[in-house]
Assembly symmetry: C2
Homo-oligomer: 474 residues x 2
C-alpha cells in the first residue's frame, strides 16, 4: 500500500534505483540463506520508529563478519546499488528506510564482545552488540558503559547516530566515548580509524567523521569504547516541582554550579501519568526531576545536599530517595519506557519526536514557550528531557491517517527548532538528521557547511551507495 502523500512530504522525491538481477544472484551465491528477499524480512527492515512509509529494500543480507560486510558492499558498489546498514531498527528519524531502494545490511548477528581491556577501561565490540548486552557481559569487571538511549540500541547504530541518553550530562555522548572504529568503506575496503590510546593527534579524526555519519560513509564493523568504574556509591532521587519552570531553573543552577551530577531528567505531568500507568508507579502528578549522583559516599552526599538546597529554593518538594539498586532500576526503566508508554496510550498512533538541544542558559526560554504552544495545539504530547545537557524531547502522538494532525505536529516542531537555532542550539541533540531534519540542518549549519558535508560524501562514496538520501539530499 502506498502511504497517502501527506504522510511522506518529508521523504525526498528521488526515484528508486534499480537493483539488477545480477546483484541478487551474486548475493544469493555469496550468502546463501543469509540473503533474504522474503517480503516479511524486507518489510521488517524497511521501517524504523519514524513515521514514514516507503517501499522496503529489495533484499536483506545478514552479515556475520567484517568479511561478509566487505563482500556485500563491494558487490553493491559494483552494481551502484544502495546499502543501508541495520542494527536493531530503533532509529527515530527514518535512517533505515530504503528511500532510493537497495539492500539492507543487517549486522545484528555480529554481536560478539571481542576484547575487554578492563585495566585500560576499554572494550571492543562488534556493531550488533546492544548496550544492555554489553553491560551484562562486562558485569564481572566492575566497569560499565554509560550511554543509554531509550531503546536497547546496538553499539554500531549508536555510533552512527552519535547517540547519548540520560548519563551524557556526566559521561558525554558517543562522540566522546568511541575511541576507535573498524569501518568498511563504500568500495568494500577495511580500515581502522584509531588506536586504543586515550588521546592522539595522528592525522584527521576519522573516528569522529564516522561517528554520526548515519551509515552514509561506510559500515561500522567494530567499535572500541571507553568504560567507567562502577561508582562506589550511587543515589537516585525524585523531586516534584510546582511548575516546569521551577524544575528547569533547578537544573540550570545545578549545572552552572558545576555539580558533577550523573543524571538529571525532566519528566512533565503528561509523562508522569503515562509512566505511572504503564509501569505501575505512583509518582506524584507534577513535573519532576529524576536525578542520580555517582561518586564516593562523601561526594554523593555533598552533591545531593547541594542540589537539594537548589531545588528547595525553587519550591521543589523534599527528595524521595531510591537507594536500593532494585528501586533505581525500576525508576530508570520507567523513564526509558516513557516512549513506549506514550505510544501505547493512543492505539494506532505514531510518535513524532523532537530533539532540540540548547546552551543551558537558554533552556527555560526554549522549553517553556514550546510547552505553551504544544498545550494550545490540542495534540496529545509528552515531554521528557536530558535537561542537564539542554536537550529535551517532545513526543507528539498523532493519528497517522490525519494529515491535519501531522501538519500541526510538524508545525510545532518547526517552531521549536527555529527557536532552538535562534538560541544558538541544534535541531538534534542525539537522534540524528535522517530524513526528518534535512531542511533543519541547512538552517542550522548553513548551505556552505552542508555543501562541505556533500563534498566529503562524494569523495568517500562516489557512487552514492551508502544509505543515500539521509542527512542531505544527494
Amino acid at each position: 500500500m502506498n502511504a497517502p502523500a501527506a504522510l511522506n512530504h518529508l521523504v525526498p522525491d528521488v526515484a528508486q534505483r534499480e537493483v539488477p538481477a545480477a546483484l541478487i544472484a551474486a548475493l544469493q551465491a555469496q550468502f546463501g540463506d543469509r540473503f533474504s528477499t522474503a517480503m516479511a524480512v524486507r518489510e521488517q527492515h524497511g521501517r524504523d520508529e519514524s513515521s514514514f512509509q516507503v517501499p522496503p529494500p529489495a533484499g536483506v543480507v545478514f552479515a556475520q563478519s567484517t568479511a561478509d560486510v566487505a563482500a556485500a558492499v563491494a558487490l553493491a558498489n559494483q552494481h551502484r546499488v544502495p546499502v543501508i546498514p541495520f542494527g536493531v531498527g530503533s532509529s527515530l528519524e527514518g535512517h533505515l528506510l530504503a528511500v532510493q531502494g537497495g539492500i539492507s545490511l543487517d549486522v545484528s548477528r555480529m554481536n560478539k564482545v571481542l576484547s575487554i581491556n578492563a585495566e585500560d577501561l576499554t572494550v571492543t565490540v562488534q556493531p550488533g552488540v546492544t548496550r544492555k548486552q554489553l553491560n551484562e557481559e562486562i558485569k564481572s569487571t566492575g566497569l560499565f558503559f554509560p550511554i543509554d538511549p531509550g531503546a536497547d540500541a546496538s553499539i554500531g547504530g549508536m555510533s552512527a547516530t552519535r547517540a547519548s541518553g540520560t548519563n551524557a550530562v556526566r559521561y558525554g555522548t558517543m562522540r566522546d566515548n568511541v575511541l576507535a572504529l573498524e569501518v568498511v568503506t563504500a568500495s568494500g575496503e577495511v580500515i581502522r580509524t584509531g588506536s586504543r590510546a586515550k588521546k592522539s593527534s595522528a592525522g584527521y579524526d576519522l573516528t569522529r567523521l564516522f561517528v554520526g555519519s548515519e551509515g552514509t560513509l561506510g559500515v561500522i564493523t567494530e567499535v572500541t569504547v571507553k568504560l567507567y568504574p562502577l561508582p562506589e556509591a550511587v543515589s537516585a532521587a525524585i523531586c516534584s516541582f510546582p511548575s516546569l519552570e521551577a524544575a528547569v531553573h533547578t537544573t540550570i543552577q545545578t549545572i552552572q554550579l558545576g555539580v558533577p551530577i550523573a543524571r538529571v531528567e525532566l519528566i512533565d505531568v503528561n509523562s508522569v501519568r503515562l509512566v505511572n500507568n504503564y509501569s505501575k508507579l505512583t509518582l506524584k502528578e507534577q513535573p519532576l526531576l529524576l536525578m542520580e549522583f555517582h561518586g564516593s559516599p562523601a561526594s554523593v552526599k555533598e552533591q545531593a545536599e547541594t542540589v537539594q538546597a537548589i531545588a528547595s529554593d525553587n519550591g521543589g518538594e523534599s527528595f524521595e530517595w531510591a537507594s536500593t539498586p532494585e528501586e533505581r532500576t525500576r525508576l530508570w526503566t520507567a523513564r526509558h519506557n516513557s516512549y513506549f508508554a506514550a505510544v501505547q496510550s493512543r492505539p494506532g498512533c505514531r510518535c513524532i519526536s523532537t530533539d532540540t538541544c540548547v546552551p543551558i542558559s537558554r533552556l527555560a526560554d526554549c522549553l517553556l514557550d514550546s510547552v505553551a504552544e504544544a498545550d494550545a495545539s490540542g495534540i496529545p504530547y509528552f515531554l521528557v528531557g536530558h535537561v542537564g545537557d539542554g536537550n529535551f524531547h517532545f513526543g507528539y502522538l498523532i493519528d497517522p491517517n490525519s494529515a491535519e494532525e501531522r501538519a500541526t505536529a510538524e508545525a510545532l516542531n518547526h517552531k521549536l527548532v527555529s527557536r532552538a537555532l535562534s538560541l544558538e542550539g541544534t535541531c538534534t541533540g542525539e537522534h540524528g538528521i535522517g530524513l526528518h531534519k534535512i531542511e533543519f540542518l541547512v538552517n542550522e549549519a548553513g548551505a556552505g557547511a552542508v555543501e562541505m558535508m556533500r563534498t566529503l560524501k562524494r569523495a568517500l562514496d562516489p557512487n552514492n551507495i551508502m544509505n543515500p538520501g539521509k542527512i542531505f539530499t544527494l
Copy 2:
C-alpha cells in the same frame, strides 16, 4: 644557507612551488603594510620549534579579521600558491615550514576574546588568543580553560594540532573541548562547524574534522571552547620515588582505580636537575610525580589520601604539599619550562621531542625499555610525561651539526614509536604529525586510512594550497 642533507632527511623532496609576481602584487594591494616580504619577517615565520631547516615563505600576511583571511586564501587559491597558517610559532613538528614554498598567514593579531558565556561555560575567541591570555581575560568569571601545552600557544594552533597538556587526564584534549569553529575553506569561503549546544547529532562532525587537521583543510578563524568552574579546592603535591618504575606503577593504579586526579606528571631525574637549575628549585634528585587534585575540600582530601596510599605501597616518599596558589604556580611553571630548561642546558642544541601515547596498562612496558635505550645511547635527554593519559615525551638534545647524533636520536624515536604501536598506542598524543611523523602515521593508521585522509584533503582543497606536505605527502 642550505642545511646539510642529514638535517633534512625527513623533509619531503618536493619542489618549491612558484609564487607569481601577480600574487605578490595582489597581496600588496589588498593588505598594504600588513603584507611583508622582508627577509627577517619571512625567516621568523619560516621556522618553529622543530629542528628542520627549509627556505622561508615568500611573504607574510598579517590578518586582522576573518575577511582578511578569506581574501588572502582566495587570492592564493586563484594562483595555486600554498598558505601556511601561523599562530605563535610553537609547533614542535615542522607544521609552519614552507616545504613547498608559499605564503605564511599570521593570525596573531586576531587576538580578541569575542564573547564570554559564563552561564553556559563557553567562550568564543579569535584564533590568535593564547591560552594564558584567555585565562587572564576570563579571570573574573570564576571559570578557567584547562588545556595547557608547554608553550603559551594560540587557541587556533592548539585546535589545529589537537593539543592537550597536563590537565587532559581530567578535562580532555582540544578534541573534547572545542564546541564549534568558524573556518575559512581552501576556496576562501567562510563556514561554521557547530553551535553552542553541548551535544549535537546534526550531520558530519566538521568541528572534529578541522580539530587536528594541522592547517591542511582550511584556516580556523574563530573557536568556541568549553570552560570549567575553578575548583573550590585545589591541592598540589610532589612525591619522590626510588625508581621510575615505582612512579609509573603509582600512576597506573591511580587511573585504574578511577581517581579523578586533575594532573599527574612524571619528571625523570634528568628533568629534575634541569628544572632545579633553570627555575631555582631544590627538588630532590629522584624521579617524581607532580600531582594536582581538584574538587570540593572533602573530595580533594579523599583523592589525595587514596593516591598517597598507592604511592606509599610503591615506595613513594611522603607527599610534599603545595597549598598556596603561589607555590603551585611556581611548580607548574617549572614543569612547563622543562623544555626551555633543557634546550638552554646544552648551548646550540636542538631538541627532538617524542610524543607516544599508549593505553595506561602498557605504560610501564613502553616507557621503561625506552629509558634503558636512551641511557645506553649516550645522547643527553630528559623525560617528562602526562602519564595519567599514557603519554610521555623524551627530549633528545642533539648537536644540529652532528649527523650522527641526529641519526641516533631518530633511531631511538623510531624504536619508541614501534614499541608504542605494538602496544596499541599512537605515535603522537598531542603534538601532531607535521613533517616529522609522516612515515609513522602510515605505520600506525595503515595505508588505507591515510589514503582516506588524502581523499578528504583532495576533496576539500583540490589545488593543495592549505599547508601542503604536512600529515602525509601530497
